[in-house]
Symmetry: C2
Subunit: 230 residues, 2 copies
Amino acid sequence: MASPAPTRPVDSPWQPAGQRARQREVKRQAVLQTAAQLFNEKGFHATSLDDIAERLHVSKPTLYYYVKSKDDILLECVRTALGMMQAGIDEVRRAGGRAIDQLMACMRIYSSIVMQDFGMCVIRIGEDPLPAPRRKELRRLKAGIDAEFRRLIAEGIAEGSLAPCDPKMAAFALAGALSWIGRWYRPDGDLDPAHIADQCIELLMAGVRQRPAPPARDNVRSRRAPNPPN
Amino acid sequence: MASPAPTRPVDSPWQPAGQRARQREVKRQAVLQTAAQLFNEKGFHATSLDDIAERLHVSKPTLYYYVKSKDDILLECVRTALGMMQAGIDEVRRAGGRAIDQLMACMRIYSSIVMQDFGMCVIRIGEDPLPAPRRKELRRLKAGIDAEFRRLIAEGIAEGSLAPCDPKMAAFALAGALSWIGRWYRPDGDLDPAHIADQCIELLMAGVRQRPAPPARDNVRSRRAPNPPN
């Protein structure tokens, strides 16, 4: 007897598991990013889960499928930004080259991230609203990035491209000035992120780069600073 | 008939009105300053009015005689710090002199205040937890200080002591780096505030001061920045 013609399987209205997981991740990212934008616009405390749901045209219960709480969202936003910074710095370190060039590349990564949604959260909201163990975790990530800046500055001094200075203080000043971009940058403003980064990095590098003595007529330096860095 | 000997008035157990008002103000300041210290140590949200009362050895109802709420305290702390900055800057402006010297004096005031309790609140907590009208008021105060920095930088360029640059961007970078001190400075740490200020200001001034071209071997500047400030 001839076997029956194979029946054509019904097209499943469910997506394959891998695709579902990807879809879920895309949606989770949209929740996080929308939340980050609202935190940065309105402030963390003034933003409710209802606001986030409304902007995404979903119900609040839908959000809970992707995130546990507002704290959980903030933690993820900050963790993501710090992770991006660390990954970028790691890549620069692996590529090698002069410490001064690595430092500038890291400054470029840092400033670019503080002008993005998650990075802006790090600067505008920070870890303050989170419970102590979470704050500690985020501080540890930040300390790791700070350590990279210090190390590169110390290496730059050793290779002669940077003027002798206290790497700890210089790292704070550089990262501080770049961090502040995240406070004042307006995504809808008329300044281009790359232009902002160029200008700030240029100004800051002039402060740490090995350089000739300033012209004699300018004696402010020797009067004001007992321990000038060069 | 002889008039009766004048009776000696009883010593009032109440203090004169003027003294009472002063006492009240001293106590109110102690509440604000203790609150600022706790906000800076533990974070604004992790600090309760009970914590503040406990540190001052008073009851919470006693606090309400001096302040309305935690929001009210934060507002006063930030307002006080910004007022101190503006007053310091006004004094520098009145004293006159070269714009570069005025700028450095203002940077010194700014950095000194961000290392004090109220100033640290501006940087660590900011206006985020406050309702919108309060946030707006504080942003207006900050914008005033930013405007002074921009004006001094523009004047410094005009007098030839500062290298040509975008005053808006330079003001953000300078104030940003100095602001960040308030994030990492530890009152119980081993770094002296004056030393920190000197080092940071020195580094930043090297970035904006009018200066000779960098040595030819260092060509990073011309490669990286299409519009170098000098």
